[in-house]
Symmetry: C2
Subunit: 667 residues, 2 copies
Amino acid sequence: MWTFDHLPRASLQKHYQFTPTPQWTKHVIQSSARLAEGCSASFVSADGLVMTNHHCANACLDALSDKNHDYFRNGFYTSSLAEERQCPAMELDRLDSIKDVSADIDRATAGKSGAAYSDARQAIEGRLTKECVDGNPTRWRCDIVSLYHGGQTALYRYRRYQDVRAVMAPEQDIAFFGGDPDNFNYPRYDIDLSMLRVYENGAPVHTPYLPFNPNGPKAGELVFTSGNPGRTQRGLSAAELRFQRDVINPRMIESNTLLEGMLWQYARESDRHRQESQNTFFLVQNRLKAFSGIQESLRSSSIIAQRAQEDDALQAWINADPARVKQYGTPFRQVDAALTTSRTLLPRYVGLRQALRGIAGTALTLVDGTTQRTRPDAQRLAGFHDAQLGEIEAELGAQTPFYPELETATLALALTTLRQQLGTDDPLVHTLLGHDDPDSVAAHLVQSTTLSDPKNRLALWKGGDKAVKASSDPLIVVIRRLYPAYAALRKHFNDDVTAPLNQANTRIARARLAHAQSLGQADERYPDATFSPRLSYGTVTGWTQNGHAIAPFTTFGGMYQHATGHPPFALPQRWLDARSALKPDTKLDFVSTNDIVGGNSGSPVIDRNGHAVGLIFDGNLPSLAGDLYYDITQNRAVATDTSAIISALRTVYHEPTLADELSHGHR
Amino acid sequence: MWTFDHLPRASLQKHYQFTPTPQWTKHVIQSSARLAEGCSASFVSADGLVMTNHHCANACLDALSDKNHDYFRNGFYTSSLAEERQCPAMELDRLDSIKDVSADIDRATAGKSGAAYSDARQAIEGRLTKECVDGNPTRWRCDIVSLYHGGQTALYRYRRYQDVRAVMAPEQDIAFFGGDPDNFNYPRYDIDLSMLRVYENGAPVHTPYLPFNPNGPKAGELVFTSGNPGRTQRGLSAAELRFQRDVINPRMIESNTLLEGMLWQYARESDRHRQESQNTFFLVQNRLKAFSGIQESLRSSSIIAQRAQEDDALQAWINADPARVKQYGTPFRQVDAALTTSRTLLPRYVGLRQALRGIAGTALTLVDGTTQRTRPDAQRLAGFHDAQLGEIEAELGAQTPFYPELETATLALALTTLRQQLGTDDPLVHTLLGHDDPDSVAAHLVQSTTLSDPKNRLALWKGGDKAVKASSDPLIVVIRRLYPAYAALRKHFNDDVTAPLNQANTRIARARLAHAQSLGQADERYPDATFSPRLSYGTVTGWTQNGHAIAPFTTFGGMYQHATGHPPFALPQRWLDARSALKPDTKLDFVSTNDIVGGNSGSPVIDRNGHAVGLIFDGNLPSLAGDLYYDITQNRAVATDTSAIISALRTVYHEPTLADELSHGHR
């Protein structure tokens, strides 16, 4: 998970006789992209054609569907530019530059702590972001990225594209063949693909791209993935790992399991309910596997005990020199104190945030955002700086689907949970429910709010604080009443948990770096994932699981063998029809040792020539522990082979235009 | 939680100037009872009138209801014996005698381990039980009770009563006022009461009983509870506590949370669905609170670290004397080994057992029970000895309600979970699902099975192994195919987990006892709860929570103040009508320092004169950690005051006959 400005050249040369040239690196950066909602992608033709996962386009396919078309389930096909349709609320960003701003942050926050530190940090981040956006927030997106847990801070600037159109997506049954039972397992037999196209001023954009290698990779071959791993915690202290195990993960697992049970039953009620809920259900199941995998690893591995020893050793190294004591202090003690505070604040602060999802979350964004906008830029919280308002507006204005029954069920469940956790007499619960029960409150709010219409959301957003204060929308009214308590909780949390943790972690990270430098090991480190562009390298290699060797490739033949005809092992009709026309030994999916985590979905697999050979869509079960550490013997990235993609487009979907565009690199 | 044959007389005399006489003890034993399904109860008139909780009679009230009567929700009322109705499948047991059989067990199992130990133990337990039942299993129930984790083994003999009739139950809205938000919280405002009557040969039985004190207890008064605490684990080793925290509890919490989410949505679908699922939903929520409370305590308290020190100290005490080494060995090492095995077996063994609930569980009982019956008594597993077959038959023959949609949903969810956890290619999953999906398998099995009719269940049971092998009932067919794998898993688990854990725990318990005796502290110990009769003492006292003093009593006045009119804070119409006729300062509920856990529900609170002064129905939140330890400053038992019961019967429910029976002690 190397940052593009700090690639492990020496190691690559030594082990693979390959050194990425500046041209190679620039080509990969400019051909790679990030989907704002949390996926990775790549340009695969000079005419703005983008390759990503089917599951990264779920929300788009859902939104384009209507009662006569279920594009998510049945696929989406076009044969001309005119048929390509804009994905509501989808944004694609491409990395433009990286700048180290550690010194600016240090200067602005020197000698400050608690609220003063939060305020100063907020102000400098706001100023840096504003300068970076250069007065054009629709064109540029600028993110402050805290690397090495604050050991380094960088400013990442992206070119934004907001007109992204659906070009082609296969059926859900082949994109997610094997369904949840096979998810995070291997062998897999999936073409988890969607093709999008980026437009500007009504025409496809022209960008650098990864030429499509129609043969895929060979066993043992060196391959790269370029993507945006979401979040890892490989640098957490032992105390924070324990906090994850004992507080955060149980909470996340329980709330998502409850939601999973609810959605499971909701989907069984009717075909409409199944269609409405399938996207959320998939997200919830994915999140659950991730959290459960991490939790399993925290419970059964020796990672916490190991980290505790490392922490003790680092503190001992600090204590051994008065100059180091002065510089780094006792950061682990500060972590302990912040976590103690966090434990008392979490049920109300995080509980409330979890309860306000969906349409209630939109109302909160409106109340919060318009209140923040009344303040000078430097005094606003992260996410609400002038440079970032474009993103909020795009989200509020998007034609996202609104399912009243599902919204009501979700909100009612969230309110029930909140009341259960905080108790009936808690003031937050009282503000939300009054003397009423969660079900009728949720039904009333969802039925009577006008916020399901993007026009109304935008009108309030543009009307600002005054319009929101004057609004009689029942959902706005209740969130407005709740807002002072929410803002106070957030401030308490930011000042007494986030700020001291940030400071302590910065000191820990810098002490680790200094310690590593003193041992000559500083170049062997990469920062934890931060949903910013990273390059990972590896080879196409199977692994051994419970004594069984798992081969790196699967084939079309294996897929047909596993097709029982019953979901989730039912193949779409097109695939049944095409069986005799496909070569059974065509490679379908493969695994490699690339280090990926959530957020890497949709990453291209790239060969040393800079050509696309695969499309990342999953990791194996052990890779879930990748959040905490990477184990080359067990962790595997799972990708669809480009040879399967080309065969499917030509033989199954009869899409020669698209297949030709991939083969030639342009339309 | 003292056993009746080992009461803390010295302590009671010293602190309360009270010594229970043999007459007092006998009177309490004979007036107390256990409901076989997992509750406690007491006789409160000479004519077999029994007092227990509303939530202990849920299943009965559900079963008696039909589409015109919801006795669970609206209450059940009678004005003559003729109107009293038998509760299907309800059994009440009254303790008859306790016999120490430790020496018999030791003799039979001396020098054996693994499968040989399991077999020998099974055989001796079967023989002792058979002798105890004395050829009359309908009249006597005999349980082998392992006390002090095997340090002592006792044979408990109960007089069985299988004709238990519903006499009176108030509405669910007053029995469980405050609902789930208030559950395990205090102050409470509930009358969690049901009145039953035990019959024999068609007439009420005559038994000793607790005279009803219509004034309830005073603040500070010494009170006793006589009941059947289900299970505590206060004697677990540190390794087992860690296993609970890391393996067992997460599993239980996740599976029940998933079920909770499903049932929550199921209940919202229609009034019928709500009625069908309310009993299960309540059980699931209760179970969740219990497991979550224990888990919270394991995570945040120092109990595991403390126990680890105690374990180390005990092993050191053993190691200090070669004779002790010879006698006790290294039991903690044996515990570790058994837990390692348990961890590998749990997903399949426990996963399968959890999946086979409801009607599938009935099918398993039939296949398993008839197979066991083909063996000589001594070679059968616990639960299947001749003396216990009456209980199985009673369960199979009971007219319990059967809701096909709820059964289908529950089974489909269970099968989905099993497939997810074991993987699609697991042989167990394959046997259950074939090439089909969980939903259609569940729908087919529930629709086509004939086991919902008790006549068919009994016919198969009576036909024995031959009838079950010949059955073409689809559910029997699939369970029959599954049975060999299930039986093998169970044998593996019993031989390699249960047996070595039992042996190790017996050695640990005896070493602890010997160690305590060497320090003169042996009399201060009571065994962990085992759902067998126990006496606990305490005083009526509030406590301090987050700096606030909680008063011991609540009143009718407080209840009316909390009645918002919306569920779960809506009072039944009868209570709204009676408001002006009730005295607001009448005591409603109270807390005491009595040490109770799940299973104590329905226990009488008894004063030093042996009179009933209250009815246990809940504990406060800290009491959930009572599974692991008892803290007198925090743990509180929650009871309904007898003064509230008498007032409610006379003034709210206009039941003078019943109130008079309580006041006079006979009809």
